[in-house]
């Protein structure tokens, strides 16, 4: 499989009055055709900023200071706005968290979908309309002709997210970045949306980066998982491996905090401490102060190492013996 997207050494920093916020600080990953990569992390771990960096939507005071974003072989990390505008919505599209907010409330669905096509292709409105209708049908929207004439407020949250997904896939992009697209929806709708997204990626061969804080969502969806903490990927590997045998203490903690039915009545596990202040990160491992496995070695910054078919940033991986194939 060839990589559609290859991010290497990406650093996106925000130069604020209070100091430099290293929101993304050396992130590497790649996504192949038809593959879904789950980017998991807490609020403020830099996962959304990674997504926006790929699209070139970082506004001052932030900017990409280092690294390469190779999209189909072309480095777009420092590409011009014209080049990026040509890619956005065409070769790379994005699905946002809140479907209530991402559709323009005063424009009809057909207007918004047709202009997404016409922005990149010279086709007549009739063709664009037909493609919009087919796209809505593809994401499981009943009577799409009627939905096309609706305003966003006339649709439910799940419907709107389907419209957003249909719009993202309109121009058959090579890459879709989904930024917590199911967080604002209730669980049954969540499952449907995940199903539609999965079906579309397999169907069209589109690569997808699925950003989320919810491990349960990516567990059933992603082919590979990257766990982010304080701007860095701390663990990366096949979904099943990571879920079954987490190596990084942070991943262990994340999985431990998922409520489960067979532990009823027991106190829910939580990771000690708070997410670090991005303006004053500790010198060594960023997770060090919250880590139960901390040793003297953790005063230094751990580098990425390939351990048991995984990429890991930790001096004291957990349960390594069981994880080894």
């Amino acid at each position: 499989m060839t990589a559609v997207l290859e991010v290497s050494g990406l650093k996106t920093h925000f130069f604020t009055r209070g100091g430099v916020v290293k929101a993304v600080d050396g992130v590497d990953f790649s996504v192949a055709r038809g593959e879904i990569m789950g980017l998991v992390g807490e609020s403020g771990s830099g996962k959304s900023i990674t997504g926006f960096s790929i699209l070139g939507l970082i506004d001052p005071p932030g900017r990409i200071v280092e690294g390469a974003i190779r999209f189909n072989g072309e480095d777009i990390a420092q590409a011009s706005q014209q080049r990026l505008a040509g890619l956005r919505g065409n070769r790379i599209s994005m699905i946002f968290q809140d479907p209530m907010m991402t559709l323009n409330p005063v424009l009809r669905i057909d207007t918004q979908m047709i202009e997404a096509i016409l922005a990149h292709e010279k086709v007549d409105r009739r063709t664009a309309w037909e493609r919009s209708r087919d796209a809505l049908g593809l994401v499981g929207i009943p009577s799409p002709e009627e939905r096309l004439r609706a305003y966003p407020h006339q649709l439910s949250g799940g419907m709107r997210q389907r419209v957003a997904i249909a719009t993202a896939f309109l121009n058959k992009p090579d890459l879709v970045i989904a930024d917590e697209p199911t967080t604002a929806l209730d669980v049954t709708i969540q499952a449907q949306i995940i199903y539609e997204a999965q079906k579309l990626t397999k169907h069209t061969g589109t690569a997808m980066v699925w950003i989320t804080h919810d491990l349960a969502v990516v567990a059933g969806l992603a082919d590979r998982i990257s766990v982010m903490y304080a701007g860095r990927i701390v663990e990366q590997g096949d979904t099943d491996d990571v879920i079954d045998h987490p190596l990084h203490p942070y991943t262990v903690g994340l999985l431990g905090s998922v409520p489960s039915a067979n532990k009823r009545g027991a106190r829910l596990y939580q990771i000690e401490g708070m997410t670090p202040n991005m303006l004053a990160l500790p010198d060594g491992c960023a997770f060090g102060p919250r880590c139960g496995m901390r040793t003297a070695a953790c005063a230094a910054q751990p580098d990425v190492e390939d351990v048991a078919e995984r990429r890991l940033r930790c001096f004291n991986p957990q349960g390594l013996a069981e994880a080894r194939p």
Binding site: G86, N104, A119, T167, I189
Partner: protein
């Protein structure tokens, strides 16, 4: 909007939902006062438009105005044979005719200056909001400067410099009022610009101009419509003020302000009608526009929704 749950089945989704315009209309007519005001405004506009066909006299045509008819009380008969139901002014103009012709001028001036100021202010405000930085700072300081002068003072100075005439009054009112629109549009556009749908539009690769005019602008329309109605009413009274002070429209083309000024000197001698009737017409026009504007504000402002 929030009562729409995501669990709705396809069956109840196909039920016809009322369009935004329909819901807007039914909400607008919930208020009796606003309904009456809108009706009154409709009548006023109709009377003004039809003036040449429903008035017995053209007050601008000196051949039809007889000085012998001067200062007749309401209900008197004119020399030409028709009854002057509202009396006549010092020059012998039938007040009923003069008021309707005056309304034409007032409404033209109000609407024309309102629309032109809206277009200019809207564009400037959008540019400021979207450009940001130094351009925005310069534009908004000019707006602040403009707003620190009373509108009547600005208009007065301009009309004094430009001279009399409808076109000059409109120009003066535009200069006096564009800043209100610019400030409103900029404030709304700044809020809208940071909403997610703008980011989503950027992600679709739409051009800047398209995002500003097609996506941001329609979302700024609600406050613009409200400011537009209120400013139109104030433009009408400002024109009357200027004409009353004698710098607005010439005596040969009496607007409501000119008529009020004409009758002013006769007030104490008991000939109340020359000032009072044009004054009432002005009052009803401005009040009805303002009431309609108030209701528009209530209906269009999402924060005041029940």
């Amino acid at each position: 909007m929030t009562d729409m749950t995501s669990t709705s089945t396809p069956a109840d989704m196909t039920a016809k939902v009322e369009t935004p315009f329909q819901s807007f209309r039914s909400e607008f007519f919930e208020s009796k006062i606003a309904t009456v005001a809108l009706g009154l405004l409709g009548v006023i506009i109709l009377l003004a438009v039809l003036a040449p066909w429903i008035t017995p006299q053209n007050p601008y045509d000196l051949g039809q105005v007889d000085v012998m008819d001067g200062r007749l009380a309401p209900g008197s008969e004119a020399f030409a044979g028709y009854t002057m139901w509202l009396g006549s002014d010092g020059a012998g103009r039938d007040l009923y005719s003069a008021i309707l012709y005056g309304l034409r001028i007032s409404l033209t001036v109000g609407v024309a200056s309102g629309v032109i100021a809206l277009l200019i202010g809207m564009t400037i405000g959008l540019v400021a909001a979207y450009a940001g930085g130094r351009i925005e700072a310069i534009i908004m300081r000019i707006v602040d400067l403009q707003l620190s002068f009373p509108a009547s003072l600005v208009a007065l100075m301009l009309v004094a410099a430009l001279g009399k005439g409808v076109d000059k009054i409109i120009l003066a009112l535009v200069v006096a009022q564009w800043a209100y629109y610019a400030r409103t549009v900029r404030a709304t556009a700044l809020v809208e610009r940071n909403k997610e749908y703008v980011e989503a539009a950027q992600c679709l690769g739409l051009s800047r101009a398209r995002i500003v005019f097609r996506h941001i602008l329609p979302n700024c329309m609600a406050p613009l419509i409200v400011v537009g109605t209120v400013q139109t009413a104030s433009a009408i009274s400002l024109e009357a003020t200027l004409s009353f002070l004698g710098v607005g429209l010439p005596q040969t083309e009496p607007s409501l302000g000119v008529l009020i000024a004409n009758g002013f000197e006769y007030m104490l001698s008991g000939r109340y009608w020359i000032s009072i009737f044009p004054g009432l017409a002005l009052l009803l026009t401005v009040v009805s526009i303002n009431l309609v504007g108030d209701q528009l504000r209530d209906v269009l402002n999402p924060r005041m929704k029940k």
